[in-house]
Symmetry: C2
Subunit: 144 residues, 2 copies
């Protein structure tokens, strides 16, 4: 019931890209530095995210990564499922079907829906908005 460090790194990296409004690529090294992520580890994560169709990249000087589609079209759930695997708690061997002789499949379904109602309804555009609001609120409080 937890998110791997790798999953968190992936979220933070995508968030970093979503914060920029330009389409200019951002370098791995920059993201690693700003988000405090080991660079080599981040490289493999970004490659995986590109492979998943979430990011695009360009090599060479002035190369880097960028979002492959608008931030309001990438959800936290998209990234987590791609990096950490399926979020469903118990699609295991054994009595897997709802309506079977066990109360658990139904329970897992409820858990999944509850989880999904958060992570699949939160896009990176949402995260950026919330984050900006928070910063704005802070600044106002300081000013008064």
């Amino acid at each position: 019931m937890d998110v791997s460090v790798k999953g968190e790194y992936a979220l933070r990296a995508v968030f970093e890209l979503a914060c920029r409004e330009t389409d200019e690529p951002i370098k791995i090294a920059k993201i690693a530095e700003r988000q405090q992520i080991p660079q080599k580890f981040l490289e493999s994560i970004l490659a995986q995210l590109k492979q998943g169709g979430f990011l695009g990249s360009r090599r060479g000087a002035d190369g880097g990564y960028f979002l492959a589609r608008p931030a309001d079209n990438i959800t936290v759930g998209d990234i987590l499922r791609h990096i950490d695997g399926p979020t469903t708690p118990a699609q295991r061997i054994g009595q897997g079907e709802v309506g079977s002789d066990s109360p658990f499949p139904e329970l897992w379904q409820k858990v999944e829906r509850a989880l999904s109602s958060v992570i699949d309804r939160t896009s990176f555009a949402d995260l950026v908005v919330r984050w900006k609001e928070n910063r704005a609120r802070k600044v106002v409080n300081w000013d008064i």
Copy 2:
């Protein structure tokens, strides 16, 4: 974002005990057989659940395990958190606080609340009721 096999075994074992309405202890071997759990592994799980205050036990012939409190007073969340550790996805090092310079703590809080709304509101008494309803429905369908 998943439940360990150990966590599932724990839930199934407690469910098995909750299904019995008697206060008579049930043997490890019986639970292991009925729920298809490796017995030695189950032993350690039950010991841990006892240690957590959820179960009681008696040794000797006619010994076994039993619920330490009524089934409507033990939730799925209780068991999962005791066996699999805290269910919160990212109380890690680094920017941990809500309202910090990151949108994620707030997100994790939402995830946690969503999760909690299921697992902390589902008692084993609930599971037993649902399971019995399901069985009843099946039998009716067969009869018609």
